[in-house]
């Protein structure tokens, strides 16, 4: 009696923390993870004010574009502020904007994508056509058009990036949810009379989570490069806030005199994107491997 009871599994084994994910990491992905951690540390340093100098603290005796020195590791910027401290503060601004835009675009994109996949029919058609139309225009161009009217407030930048980016999330989440939505267990839930929200959360989401995580990384690096580009064009975060794209812009004119100042914030942007992409590549490769393994198991 008790033996039989023991063998009945709980509804689903709780997903434990996947240590294998970290222990099997190849060198490239470890480097990527290291870069991401470094950036996280910088963000917290900026939030708690643990930088060597202040965000807008000007060193008159140092002058503009001072070369790197023991006190100022990366020298000074165009009005004599400490470059390293500005880069650390910039991390919080740039990453903060990119992260909130990505979170928002994911929420919108996944909700719309899952709705389209589960409901099908008219809802799917309308949503898909709207997304098609938005995707027919290059993202940067559409963003410029909208910003020319709405201005460059930070919440507007987040909203614009999130809406434009959610079209990509919509496409992906709709496509993966379509594969899941035709499975028997979704049909069963539907016949049980579960609502749309319940089906999306309990049936579709758990089965699509890995590709969505990889997509989150890609979308983040897109949003991050996008806000950096907007700020670089002077249409993103406005001074005196430190922000990586804006710092490249502010310091750009001295590059013709052989001063590397604009290259530091630009390198910071490049480094984080590389880190995120290295980790995303690893997640995707892992996923392909487990998909291939599942396929082989089925064959046997």
């Amino acid at each position: 009696m008790s033996m039989i009871d023991d063998k009945i599994p709980d509804a689903l084994p709780r997903r434990r923390f996947d240590w294998e994910f970290f222990s099997c990491m190849p060198l490239a992905a470890r480097i990527g993870l290291g870069i991401i951690l470094l950036n996280v540390v910088m963000v917290f340093m900026a939030i708690f004010g643990l930088t060597p100098y202040g965000e807008t603290e000007i060193f008159r005796d140092l002058g503009n574009w001072a070369p790197p020195s023991a006190e100022h590791w990366l020298g000074s910027d165009q009005i004599g502020r400490d470059m390293l401290s500005r880069i650390i503060y910039g991390a919080a601004t740039t990453i903060g904007i990119a992260l909130s835009a990505t979170l928002l675009s994911f929420t919108m994109g996944i909700l719309m994508g899952f709705t389209a996949a589960v409901m099908g029919g008219l809802a799917d058609n309308v949503l898909s056509r709207i997304v098609d139309a938005l995707m027919a225009i290059p993202t940067l161009i559409l963003a410029l058009v909208v910003i020319s009217v709405l201005g460059t407030e930070i919440y507007i930048l987040v909203l614009v990036i999130a809406v434009l980016d959610s079209t990509r999330v919509f496409r992906l989440s709709r496509a993966i949810a379509m594969d899941v939505a035709v499975m028997e267990f979704v049909e069963a839930a539907r016949l049980r009379g579960e609502g749309l929200w319940w089906i999306m959360r309990r049936e579709i989401l758990p089965n699509t989570i890995m590709p969505l995580i990889a997509e989150f990384g890609l979308r983040f690096s897109f949003a991050f490069l996008f806000i950096a580009a907007l700020s670089f064009l002077g249409l993103g975060v406005q001074p005196p806030h430190a922000d990586w794209g804006g710092m490249v812009r502010e310091n750009s004119q001295v590059i013709s005199y052989g001063i590397a100042a604009p290259l530091y914030p630009a390198a910071a942007i490049a480094l984080l994107t590389i880190g995120v992409n290295l980790v995303v590549d690893y997640i995707l490769a892992r996923q392909n491997r487990s998909a291939a393994a599942a396929f082989e198991e089925q064959e046997l």
């Binding site: 290059p138 161009i141 559409l142 410029l144 058009v145 020319s148 709405l150 750009s252 590397a260 290259l263």
Partner: protein, 315 residues
């Protein structure tokens, strides 16, 4: 096939129309008011009303849209608010510059990417493959301005080979412009080549895995001949597609690169106008960029229909 082509053309025109609606709506229906946006801090009820009248904002939106689009089709792009001159006069020279830059970049990038992609497909699994994945990673990770400034820093400033600013003007002829174009074109090439190369490689490999290629191999035909004579005709249509999609990307990637090299093209003009809130110019530039983009996408589809042997000779 004609049917297919006509349908694609109709879809293209339809897309263009929707795009024009979105761009118009983006500046007109969104909660921001154009008149107060232009005036900024100096807005008073009187001058806001004057600007509204000047822009014709008091008419209903659909009438304004029709007259805007109608003017656009006849080459009247409206008046710039800041310079108070017709936008069309100012855009001509810049559009020419942008297309020239994109063309030079394409002339370097396309042959390079196709050759490298073919070599990579033939020498699969060698150091070449690793090179491709690393360079693709860099191409999607590095912002255009980073590559641009690195080139300026090392090639223009430290080596002194080329000028660091590309400020061409209308009096220069093509030969004077070319040296100024090399660095921006190289930046665009570096950004786009990896992607094109990778897609070419994937297209060639997928054809190379088909049975008729195996047959050719078993007959003992040389590797190069298999690729060029047997695989290429079938790969042509995906490659054309890849190339044109990347050209479409170049036309937009040009915006940031123009600002980096202070090159007087459409992209720089549009960015300037956005910061000055010069809405008619932004609308015009936006519509032109979007038209080129949509047009290239449509061309890609049409050419790949034409280049596809199976569609050209239907059974």
């Amino acid at each position: 096939m004609l049917n297919l082509l006509l349908r694609r053309l109709a879809l293209g025109v339809m897309t263009l129309w929707v795009v024009s609606v979105i761009i118009f709506a983006g500046t007109e229906i969104l909660p921001g008011d154009v008149a107060t946006a232009i005036l900024g801090q100096t807005a008073t009820p009187e001058n806001t009303a004057a600007i509204r009248a000047q822009l014709g904002l008091n008419e209903p939106p659909h009438e304004r849209y029709i007259s805007w689009l109608g003017g656009f089709l006849q080459g009247d792009l409206g008046m710039s608010l800041t310079s108070r001159r017709p936008v069309a006069d100012q855009i001509g020279f810049r559009l020419e510059n942008t297309l020239l830059l994109a063309a030079v970049a394409a002339m370097i990038a396309v042959p390079l990417a196709i050759c490298l992609g073919l070599v990579a497909a033939i020498r699969q699994g060698t150091v070449f493959d690793r090179g491709i994945s690393v360079s693709t990673l860099l191409a999607i990770s590095l912002p255009e301005f980073f590559i641009g400034y690195i080139l300026i820093f090392f090639v223009a400033v430290h080596l002194g080979w080329l000028p660091s600013m590309s400020n061409v003007n209308a009096r220069m002829d093509l030969w004077d412009k070319l040296p100024l174009l090399i660095l921006p074109a190289l930046t665009l090439t570096l950004v786009s080549v990896a992607h094109m190369m990778r897609m070419t490689r994937a297209a060639v490999i997928s054809v190379m895995n088909s049975p008729y290629i195996e047959m050719a191999e078993l007959k003992g035909i040389r590797n190069w001949r298999i690729v060029v004579q047997h695989a290429l005709p079938n790969v042509l249509s995906p490659i054309i597609n890849i190339v044109i999609l990347n050209l479409a990307y170049l036309v937009v990637g040009v915006v940031v690169v123009e600002v980096v090299f202070t090159y007087p093209g459409m992209g720089q003009y549009m960015v300037d106008s956005v910061s000055k809130r010069d809405v008619p110019v932004v609308q015009a530039c936006g519509l032109i960029f979007a038209t080129v983009y949509v047009g290239l996408n449509m061309t890609a589809d049409i050419l790949s229909i034409l280049a596809n042997p199976r569609l050209r000779h239907p059974k």
